[in-house]
Symmetry: C2
Amino acid sequence: MAKDRKIDVVILGLLSHEDLTGYDIKKRIDGAISFFWKGSFGSIYPALNAMEQAGQISKYEADDSGSRKKILYHITAKGTKVLKRWLNEEQASNELKYETLLKLYFGGVEAPETTVHNIDIFEENIKEELEVLKMYEKNLKKEKDNSDHKHFLLTVMFGIETYEAYLRWCVKARKMLKN
Amino acid sequence: MAKDRKIDVVILGLLSHEDLTGYDIKKRIDGAISFFWKGSFGSIYPALNAMEQAGQISKYEADDSGSRKKILYHITAKGTKVLKRWLNEEQASNELKYETLLKLYFGGVEAPETTVHNIDIFEENIKEELEVLKMYEKNLKKEKDNSDHKHFLLTVMFGIETYEAYLRWCVKARKMLKN
DNA sequence: ATCAGCATGTAAGGCGTTACATGATTCA
DNA sequence: TGAATCATGTAACGCCTTACATGCTGAT
């Protein structure tokens, strides 16, 4: 794996469940993963080529009843090893980049209403995202508990727990700003 | 401000309170801000030059009782305008990049103990950081409540609220993984 | 004397986004 | 017929980190 290119393990992780096209991978990333990780086509396709060169994944064209070209990727034994090695590494970088908090921190140079307004917007967005996560949770709880679903559910629960904490904080913060 | 270079507003925000050297700015970023924003010398010094060229900040050498060179930066009226404009922009990018959650999401390919171990490590780190935040909170609550301290306190409270949510989740998650 | 911390900066290079370019298929 | 979605990729460019380079100051 290229030193710090984490998109690699995202791809390997997704391919460990099923063969996918680059386009599929993008869709998966935009789904339940999106709240803690992002990825664009501009990073996915080059990574797929590099990883195939490195022998971590293999590609084949879908013999899908004629029609258009569609390149499916499959994880190799080498790729699985890379994925497992990463899972067993202790260090993990966890970073928050919250512009809302930055605006809050420096909010003293403007009127309190400005800060309150920024909190309102943040709250709106979080409420929307929370709804989405709760929908994911509902769907995951319906399914029979195989090992993978349990893991997916845990990340969703993480999201719900933290977003609810955010919302509690919004209420407190507004109260404090209005004295 | 260069289109997406957010370090600019961090610098402007810090300079809106007091004149600082590049080195000071780095220290401030590594303090209470660090849990929701990062910045290195390699981004700070070039940004300072660019912003001075743009007239958002001005520099002068400290006439500080002889001794070594020390360049202090001061925010200009133009810089203040940029800062305020940013504070009043509605859009704000808030992103989480949590490798721990990625490892959790793909944890199904390894033994549950691996995932539990990753959660343990995460929990340890959060506990440590929570202690630091609580110390900040204690200090901020001691100080007389001027407008700035209120804003600083709110970001710290955000951190505490979310970190406590993380810790609650850790307990739940471990329980679920051990059945 | 030596080491940690103060202080400023540059260079290389990686990562990733946005925008562009292209074209097929499906559905209304 | 036209729009949305499927599908693959490239190019330009910007941001930022890491590592390097340099030297002073203050404390032990």
